[in-house]
């Protein structure tokens, strides 16, 4: 029974971490799949969202869940401005120019947040109902982790339904698989991209707020966690919601297990794992289309 609860708590911890990865990365995957746009500034939107969420909770005293919603709306709106004014000029540019632009944007945002808010870590105050432990019958576990798993699953289900069952979802899938064909069928890719970009940035904002409890929130956030988001996207396959979901969960759980049972290995295993997965399935675990 000891072994049973041990493994169960490992699964819960890993899934919770995976959910945060999923929520932040899903927008990146879809926008990269849709336009081939290499948006290294995606984590910056997660950071800005986290700041909106934490600071409005602190200074305006609004609740955690409304703050998450506010973070989503604000960042989605801000990202539309960025998309129309700046990103849109670079769709036809080479991917390296896109890299240069988005890295510049990351530097700019880091410096701006440092100047305006300060270099220090921002602490999220969880409402009391999310603190402490929850008794699940078989095992007691961190309430917040369980909350993350529930919220993450709900978001994943909603996205999956939206992707598979709505007209816009079908348009996105068509455009990811073959952009030219989709365009020639009269799908307005630019508009589609703007909407998915805003939605993806908004999701990232929620992820930034949700993750702050575990991994903190400071101006360096967009750079230090970028690699994790990119690994999830690459392993999941570009433009695949289900792919990103499972990749995030697999990486979350395996990373958790390796850290718990083999902490001496540091980050060695997770990188080795990512390399093996990518060599085995270069298009990602769930990506189909060879480019």
């Amino acid at each position: 029974m000891i072994v049973g609860t041990d493994i169960l708590s490992m699964l819960l911890g890993g899934l919770a971490a995976g959910m945060v990865l999923f929520i932040v990365s899903v927008g990146l995957s879809v926008t990269m799949g849709l336009m081939g746009f290499v948006n290294l500034a995606h984590g910056a939107f997660a950071m800005l969202g986290g700041y909106v969420i934490v600071l409005t909770m602190r200074y305006w005293g609004i609740g955690f869940v409304p703050a998450l919603a506010l973070g989503f709306v604000v960042i989605a709106a801000v990202s539309i401005v960025f998309e129309r004014l700046l990103y849109a000029r670079l769709y036809r540019a080479s991917e390296l120019d896109q890299v240069l632009f988005t890295i510049g944007l990351v530097f700019f945002m880091i410096a701006a947040v440092t100047l305006i808010v300060g270099p220090e870590n921002q602490q999220l105050m969880l409402p009391s109902w999310l603190q402490g432990q929850l008794d699940l019958g078989i095992v007691q576990y961190r309430t917040y982790s369980i909350f993350l798993i529930v919220v993450g699953s709900a978001i994943a289900l909603g996205l999956w339904l939206g992707f598979e069952r709505t007209r816009m979802g079908a348009q996105i899938r068509a455009a990811v698989d073959n952009r030219r064909m989709a365009e020639s069928l009269g799908i307005n890719i630019d508009r589609l991209f703007m909407l998915t970009f805003a939605f993806g940035s908004g999701m990232a904002a929620i992820g930034g707020g949700l993750g702050a409890e575990f991994i903190g929130l400071n101006p360096q956030y967009p750079l230090i966690y970028l690699v994790y988001f990119l690994i999830v996207v690459a392993v999941g396959g570009l433009g695949r919601v289900t792919g990103v979901f499972f990749a995030a969960l697999i990486i979350g759980v395996l990373d958790f297990a390796l850290k718990k049972y083999l902490p001496q290995g540091g980050t060695l295993f997770i990188y080795a794992l990512a390399i093996l997965l990518l060599l085995w399935r270069p298009q990602g675990l769930f990506g189909g289309k060879p480019t």
Binding site: F101, L105, V227, G265, L268, A274
Partner: protein, 336 residues
């Protein structure tokens, strides 16, 4: 359609003449020499700048000419750095010039091995594979702290005088500057020769149209692996120089920061054009150095803005912008 007519075509002439030495090409070297006399108190920065140019040049070979988009080039910089650092620290070998050869060999070997496995992929997958390989090496260096010194690094490496004559003074790094300048010059000549050779032309062909190169029977994969190995070896030389001039090496020589910086520098300057590495390194390093001096806490704001502006308005970096401006100027002058 006759042959002489075709060879008179301006495009054909440009093609034939492009490997020839242009009048302005000695200019960077004159400037580099001038810097030595004009700014005797900035030579530490100057040395770092020259090393960064060499490192960016090595990346240009892989990224600009062969189209291998990598975010893990610091792996080779670090490999060269640690090869020299470990041998010097453990008292095995520390002569500078042979140290460069050893650094190049070790980095080249790692380039060859990783090239054999990774270069079958492209795009984001390749980007992530190169990044993860570098992270793997970094973590390995961290775990082997007993030998590598880990995060705290290998201190006070005993680097003997160059040719047994010229001492590396830590406070006034004149010898270091000239030494690095000399090595950069030699490496540059080699790279210049390489990219204008048939081998270099076939690399450009691969970058522009892989399918066609396959169709004409070029050994695409081997060409890429060879290029990647050479590029890695040159990055190893840059790393070796960095260790010798700093008499110090630690984990950051293998880090993402360094890999991302060199990529930014190359794209900023303009890739696939030899001198992009020079322009990019000078602009980026000078700007971040002097901005950081004046605004120690806020300099990243200006740097970020510059990168965004260049990406938005220049396309293919500062040299791309230059070309467009010159093109516009010339077409205005030319009779309609």
């Amino acid at each position: 359609m006759s042959a002489p007519g075709l060879s008179e075509h301006p495009a054909a002439r440009a093609m034939v003449a492009r490997h020839r030495l242009r009048a302005w090409e000695p200019l960077p070297w004159i400037l580099a020499f001038g810097f030595y006399f004009a700014f005797p108190n900035h030579l530490g920065f100057g040395t770092d700048l020259l090393i960064m140019i060499l490192f960016a040049l090595s990346l240009d070979l892989a990224l600009g000419y062969a189209g291998i988009v990598t975010l893990g080039h610091a792996a080779f910089f670090g490999a060269g750095a640690y090869a020299v650092g470990l041998l010097a620290h453990h008292g095995v070998w520390n002569e500078p010039i042979t140290g460069l050869v050893i650094g190049a060999a070790v980095a080249g070997l790692i380039g060859l091995i990783s090239g054999l496995t990774l270069l079958r992929t492209t795009g984001l997958t390749l980007l992530m594979l190169t990044l993860c390989t570098m992270a793997l090496l970094e973590e390995a260096a961290n775990m082997g702290e007993k030998y590598t010194g880990g995060f705290d690094g290998l201190p006070n490496l005993p680097i003997p005088p160059l040719f047994g004559l010229f001492e590396f003074n830590p406070l006034y790094p004149r010898v270091q500057y000239l030494y690095v300048l000399g090595v950069l010059f030699v490496c540059f000549l080699f790279v210049r020769m390489l990219v204008y050779s048939p081998f270099g032309q076939s690399l450009t062909g691969i970058r522009e149209n892989v399918l066609r190169m396959h169709a004409v029977g070029a050994p695409v994969n081997w060409r890429l692996i060879t290029c990647y190995t050479i590029s890695a070896a040159i990055a190893g030389v840059a790393g070796a120089l960095w260790v010798q001039t700093n008499t110090y090496v630690n984990l950051t020589s293998l880090g993402l920061d360094r890999a991302a910086t060199v990529l930014i520098i190359l794209v900023l300057g303009g890739y696939g054009r030899l001198y992009g590495a020079f322009v990019g390194a000078v602009v980026y390093m000078a700007l971040s150095h002097f901005l950081a001096k004046v605004y120690p806490t806020a300099w990243q704001l200006g740097l970020g803005l510059l990168l965004m502006l260049i990406a938005l308005f220049a396309r293919n970096g500062v040299l791309g912008l230059w070309d467009r401006l010159m093109g516009r100027l010339l077409s205005r002058r030319a009779p309609p």
